[in-house]
Symmetry: C2
Subunit: 337 residues, 2 copies
Amino acid sequence: MTATVHPIGSARAASLEPMIQLAAADLNHVNAVILERMQSEVALIPELAGHLIAGGGKRMRPMLTLACAALLDYQGARHHKLAAAVEFIHTATLLHDDVVDSSGLRRGRRTANIIWGNPASVLVGDFLFSRAFELMVEDGSLKVLRILSRASSVIAEGEVSQLSAQRRIETSEDHYLEIISAKTAALFAAACRIAAVVAERDESVEEALDAYGRNLGVAFQLVDDAIDYSSDAATMGKGVGDDFRDGKATLPVILAYARGGEADRAFWRDAIAGGGAEPADLGRATILLRETGALADTLERARLFGRRAIDALGAFPAGRAKAALVEAVEFAIQRAY
Amino acid sequence: MTATVHPIGSARAASLEPMIQLAAADLNHVNAVILERMQSEVALIPELAGHLIAGGGKRMRPMLTLACAALLDYQGARHHKLAAAVEFIHTATLLHDDVVDSSGLRRGRRTANIIWGNPASVLVGDFLFSRAFELMVEDGSLKVLRILSRASSVIAEGEVSQLSAQRRIETSEDHYLEIISAKTAALFAAACRIAAVVAERDESVEEALDAYGRNLGVAFQLVDDAIDYSSDAATMGKGVGDDFRDGKATLPVILAYARGGEADRAFWRDAIAGGGAEPADLGRATILLRETGALADTLERARLFGRRAIDALGAFPAGRAKAALVEAVEFAIQRAY
C-alpha cells in the first residue's frame, strides 16, 4: 500500500514517454486524419489551423483516447477518426480561448489571433468544430456523438461561467472547481470514455474511464493555474501572469484571498477587479501565493485529483497501458516542479 | 407560361404570412424547444442568447423546415427539435458574424457583442452550436447529422472565404456566388432537405428541397447585398453601408467595378481596399451602383435564383404548402423594393 496507492509526489521523474510509445503507431494514423481533414480549398483554413495543430501540442487528449483503447485491448481502427475529432474540438476551443483572452503567446509561439486576427481565429475554430462532428458522423456511433456533443456544450458553459466569474474575487473554491471541471475536464473525460464505446465495453467501464479523464483534467488545470504564477514564459510556452492580468480568480488566488489579512485581501480585490497591469503587482501576488501556502495547496489538491484518477483505473489489469496512464497523471502533476 | 413560370416581379405584394400561417402550430413547438434548450445555469447564456433569439428574427430557416415538412404531409413531431437545431446553428453564426464584422446593429437592435463584448458572443455562439448537435443526437438520425454537420463546415468555409476576399476588388462574380452559396445558402438548403429525411422520402425529394432552399438562399443573400446600398438603417434593421465600410466585394460592387471607367474603377479599388469611411464615398458608391445598373442587375440575378427555387418545387402537388413556399421566394425578392 505504498508506491501503488500513493505514487504521486515520488522523487522519480515521470514522463509522457510510455504513453507516447504505447500510442505511437495509432498516433501516426490520427495525425494523418488530422492533416487530411483540416484541408480546405480556402487556403487560410489549413494555414491557420496548421499553425496551431502542427505547433508543438502534446496531443494529450487524442493520446488518452488511444491509450484507453489500448487498455481495453481494442484492435480496430475507429478510434483514429474519433481521436482526431477530439483534437479538432480541442483546437477549436484553443482558437476561441485565445480570442476571448486576447492571448499573444501559446506553446511558445505567437497565437493565431495575433498573426491572422480575431475574425479568422473565430471562423477557423468554427470550421474545425464542424469538421469534428463530420468525423464523428462518419464513424456513425450515436453514443459517441452524444458524449462529445454534450462535452462541447459543457465546455462552452464552463468558458462562459469563467468569463462571468472574471474579476470576481469572491468566486468560491467549489464554484471554481465546477468551472474547470466543465471547461477543461469534460473533454479529458469524453476522450477517455469514447474508447470504451468503440471497444464495446459496458457502462461501468465507460464510467471508470470517464472518472480517470475527469480527475486527470482537473489536476491538469490546477497545475496549469499554479504554473501561471511560478514559471516563466520560456518553460510554460505562454505569457507568465496571464491569469493575473486577466483578473481570473483561479484556485491559487482564491486560497490566498481566503487566508490573507485585511491589507492582503484589499490587494487581491483591487488586482483581480482591476487587472494587475503592473509588474510589481504580479511580484507581490507571487509572494503572497507562496507565503500563504496557496500555491503549495493548489498542487496538493491537484495531487488529490491525480490520485482519484489513478484509483479510477483500479479494476483494470496491470500492464503497459495502465502503467502509461498512471505515469501520465504523475507527469501532469510534476510539470509544476 | 406567364404567372406560373414567371411569378417573380409581379405587382402583387408577396408576404411571409402564408408560410407563417401554415407553420404556426409547429412553430409554437419549435419556439418552446428553443426557449427550453437555450437555458443554462450560467445566467449569461440565456440572457445573451435570448437577446438575439427573442429579438425579432423571422425564424426563416426553421419555418422552411416546417413548411417543407408540410409540403410532404409529414405528420410526426421530429421536425420540431430539428428546426430548433437549425435556428441554433443560425444564431451561433450570427453571433460570430457580428464579432467578425464588428457590427453594432442587427434587426434594429444593438448587437450582443456591443452589449456583452466579443468574448461572450464567441462563447455563447459555441454553446448554441453544441446544443444544436445535442438536439440532433436526441433525434437520432445520422443522415440529419450528416447534412447539418456538413452544412456547418461549408458555412464556416464560406465565411473564411469571404474574409479572405475582403478588401479585394478583383473577386469574380463566380467566386462571390460560391461564397454566398456556402455562407448563406447551405443552411437554407439543409433546413429544407432535412424535412425530406424526417418524412422518409427518397433521395430525389431530398434533392428537390435542397435545390429549392439553396436557390432561395442565394436569392435572399443577393437581395440583402442590394439592400445594403439602397435602404436605410430603419427599414433594414442594421447599419446601412456596412458592407461598403467593411470592404466587402459583394455582387453590386463586382458588377459596378466591371462596368466602370478608369476613374470609377480607381474609386472602387481605393474604397474597397481602404474601406469607405467617408459618407461622401458611400454616396458616390450608391450613385455608381445605380448608374451602371449594378443594383438592378444584382436583383435580376436574385430573381433568376428565385425562379430556380420555384422550379425545384415543380414535381410537388399544388396546395397550400407549395403556394406558401413559392410566395416566400417572392417575398425574399420583393424586400428590395
